[in-house]
Symmetry: C2
């Protein structure tokens, strides 16, 4: 069931909202003139009305039970932020990517970027001039951190007001107002496709942010059965869950259909609790693959999963959910622990050369092995899954941002260490992901930053961040996550890429990617064509990869 | 890891307890003389000591952190009830079932019984004289409702003090003291095997009862991540969960090894929350099947599951847990709704002849179909699973006891209706289960009864029971679950089986079972050898079953 304000053209708009437990719902048109039009109840708890004289740009809210008015849970735009009204969007757009046939999943080289800090302007439009550089580097897929409307400190000027990694979004269908309009995002995707670059969008289906979420006024979006790190879990398997499932499935299709997005990166799917017989991810994968079949290029789903469970990416006939690929942290953690010597926090479970060798050969280091940091057995083997179903990295927003000061490896490793790390990732048989700036050794940190308008929440976030790092016994406090300066310090210094060692590193990445794309051994992603061994005494990992009679040996 | 008091003979006993977060544990020997012996810490949070001069019958507790003393979480006997000390048990027993080779799962005909109400005496020993009758009826597997130590109102005489269905047990390894000793249970199993009857034991791995559970003093048995209908869920996937998993896996092996139990019926597995990569049920099934391989007869696991999810019973290579069989309620609910006209509560989701036809043919009526009572889509297809992996019934403890007055079908149906119901179950291709007394039309109800010693808990149980039935708008209150009279009224009237219509019904059951065991069509459990159709206008269900050139047609 399509939800939200669906602009039909000629001043006609269809409003649909899911509110199975309400007695009445009406749409309150706010501009140009105020009027309230009741919605009619439909099957399965939906309410609907076709309204005339409603043009794109019209602001509206929904009045529930003849009392208060709230923004649309499926709002496509929130020009005044999370607490303001929703806006009717016309999706007509002159696409020029008709020749686009997509990028095959197994050949993707991901480049993760955060819209707000990737450019000085911090919006969609400013990304476009950099696409040629990325393409020249060899990148064929940008992965955009979440862009659904999140809250901001609206007391200060707009370009600084909204500071968020994106995981605090509360309107999954609404393009973040400070990043641009829906049309601006389409312009970016269109330009990417013209540059031969696919667009992966990071979407969050496991929680809503802590400020500006009014979905509870409309329907039981939450269940009390499970707790997530962010409070009650979203309701994917309890009474009335079908409306919640539809909401997120429609969200996925919305990005693919209206914005030509190539793939969705599903945030932390371990917090999508669904113990029903048909997991939400399975239903989502069915819907996306069914949509994809009618399209001129294939769309993909990539899960961020902390479970080390191949069930996520197995086909349904083998009891899986049919997700196309998943992130695997074990590679990162093994390599990071060896390169940096870090052993605190989750790095406690890594640090042996044998771990990295296992990550190359078996993907999961933890395949029902006891993990001391988790204090439990973790994972199962995924050796039945192709190597091309796993995304790996040595830096990403989390791994950098979870360091207290947001240090990148540039601050941690020697220049030779950085080159080794790049080779380890880009010449691996997995799908590599670079974090913006990694390719030229960006010096700016990527710290945890947020901005809320709720004072208590601001204090709670600050306290939480301090507490998190207190466990590591650092001498100083972490940077203030609620400060605009913290955000500004994370902006990239794009000119560095042409300077000294930064330029050497950039060239190194370009050569590695070129090699990855052309060498027959590196193109071979067969799981039985790789063998890795290790020697703890010599601190050595040897990876052998082969293809027919050719063999490459990597020593680290 | 074996846990509990393991009597080694010659007055030597090894005590092992899992307490990963305690600073010290000591065993406090209470009889014949008091002494306290410290346990030594072992790997993975276990504590252990071998103690001399400890003979079977010795009472003991564990002193934790040099403070309070509690009964052993893995106690094998609680002669003074849930709040008393644990007792050392010698498992030596003169088994005479050496010729026993077990009953194959697909040929099992289950007879569910509750020890306390099956006989006037209400204990294990009193069951033995009735085995010949059951065997003569054709029963080849008795299924004993849970017998792990539960609380009782110890202010009254012993034979009446303990009244519980068994799902409030708090010592999974301890044979309920009011039912007899561990040796008495062995005597019963031994006698069953001599009569050619397998013994299925109902075990509860999804919660502890509300009174007398001291496990929290020893280790993190619970997690706050999930809520069950009985409070916080048991910890199967959180930090330190391996000790909890080991506790229940050792429990399963304990019953199979020491008591020669043939199969375990796992209570309500939908409340065993485990979102790790290797579900507890999978690990349990591996352990049981591995144990079974070294035995002269095969042991089985049968899950009670409300999930309509064949993942439970699929082999691991198809993404399943490898449980041997599962209960399926859809057959019962479809048939019950048609026979009685009940449409309240969960019967709201049933009542069409098409439902029963689908239950015969596809097993799950709800295979990702919207269930109005659940207010969500439910189940997925299980057509890849053999019919012999499903246990069905028209009466069981829950379906009778969940009626306000514990009415059996004898009170609800005509005599012809009872005969029809028996035929529908016993001539189905699934594994049939009868509830004690069903075979001769027992007139005693089977009501919900409990007995606690905690006054607040007693009041809460009473109030809860009233509230449960208030929703059904009955005119009267339900029988008092905490009253001894309620319990006594549930005792079987075994002599009825030789009287009038009761005898006719008993003979009818015997003939049906005989037919089931001998007719080639009825022995054929192939899913593609059954076809069911229905006609709502004529209130008719037609089931065709065949085998080679022979076909049977059942019209209901």
């Amino acid at each position: 069931m399509k939800i939200g304000a669906h602009y039909l053209g000629n001043g006609e708009c269809e409003f649909t909202v899911w509110s199975p437990t309400l007695n009445s719902v009406a749409v309150q048109i706010l501009t140009p003139e105020q009027q309230v039009i009741p919605l009619k109840p439909q099957a399965e708890g939906y309410w609907q009305a076709k309204v005339s004289d409603v043009y794109p740009g019209t602001l509206y809210k929904y009045v529930v039970n003849d009392e208060n008015a709230f923004a649309d849970p499926a709002s496509q735009y929130q020009p005044e932020g999370v607490h303001g009204p929703s806006q009717v969007v016309d999706h007509h757009f002159e696409w020029t990517d008709t020749a686009w046939t997509g990028i095959s999943l197994e050949s993707m080289i991901f480049y993760e970027l955060h819209v707000g800090t990737f450019t000085p302007e911090g919006n969609f439009t400013a990304i476009i001039p950099r696409l040629a550089d990325l393409r020249e580097l060899g990148i064929n897929a940008i992965e955009i951190m979440p862009i659904s409307q999140f809250p901001g400190d609206t007391h200060i000027e707009a370009s600084l007001a909204y500071r968020n990694w994106g995981y605090d979004g509360v309107y999954p269908f609404a393009v973040q107002n400070s990043y641009g309009s829906p049309a601006d995002l389409k312009q970016l995707v269109n330009a990417c496709h013209e540059h031969g670059i696919a667009v992966v969008l990071d979407v969050v289906y496991n929680h809503f942010g802590p400020e500006g979420n009014y979905t509870g006024q409309f329907a039981p979006y939450f269940t009390k059965t499970y707790k997530t790190p962010w409070g009650n879990a979203l309701n994917f398997d309890d009474a009335l869950s079908q409306g919640v499932r539809n909401y997120f499935i429609e969200n996925a299709l919305y990005w693919l259909r209206e914005f030509h997005i190539d793939a969705l990166r599903l945030d932390a799917i371990q917090a999508i609790y669904d113990l029903g017989a048909k997991h939400f991810l399975w239903e989502l994968a069915e819907a996306v693959h069914s949509f994809s079949q009618g399209q001129t290029w294939k769309r993909h789903l990539i899960a961020e999963s902390d479970l080390n469970n191949p069930q996520i990416i197995r086909p349904p006939e083998l009891g899986g959910y049919g997700i196309d690929a998943q992130w695997s942290d074990d590679f990162h953690h093994s390599l990071h622990a060896l390169l940096t010597g870090d052993r605190q926090g989750y790095y406690e479970d890594y640090g042996q050369c044998a771990d990295l060798a296992k990550a190359y050969q078996d993907t999961f280091v933890y395949d029902w092995k006891y993990a001391p940091h988790r204090k439990r057995f973790h994972g199962i083997t995924c050796r039945d899954r192709p190597l091309s179903q796993f995304v790996i990295c040595i830096q990403n927003h989390d791994q950098i941002g979870n360091q207290m000061k947001g240090d990148r490896l540039w601050q941690r490793l020697s220049f030779e260490g950085l080159k080794l790390a790049a080779g380890a990732v880009l010449l691996s048989p997995y799908l590599p992901l670079l974090f913006m700036g990694e390719e030229y050794g960006e010096t700016a940190p990527f710290m945890y930053f947020v901005s809320h308008s709720d004072f208590d929440l601001i204090q709670a976030v600050r306290a939480g961040r301090k507490e998190e790092f207190a466990a590591f016994h650092y001498d100083e406090d972490p940077p203030d996550p609620e400060s605009a300066e913290t955000f500004l310090r994370c902006k990239l210094n794009w000119q560095l890429r042409n300077e000294g060692q930064h330029k050497v590193l950039l060239d190194w990445h370009r050569q590695l990617i070129n090699l990855r794309k052309s060498h027959p051994v590196l193109l071979n992603q067969d799981r039985n064509s790789i063998h890795a061994t290790s020697d703890e005494d010599k601190q050595l990992v040897i990876v052998r990869r082969w293809c027919e009679s050719t063999e490459l040996v990597f020593a680290m």
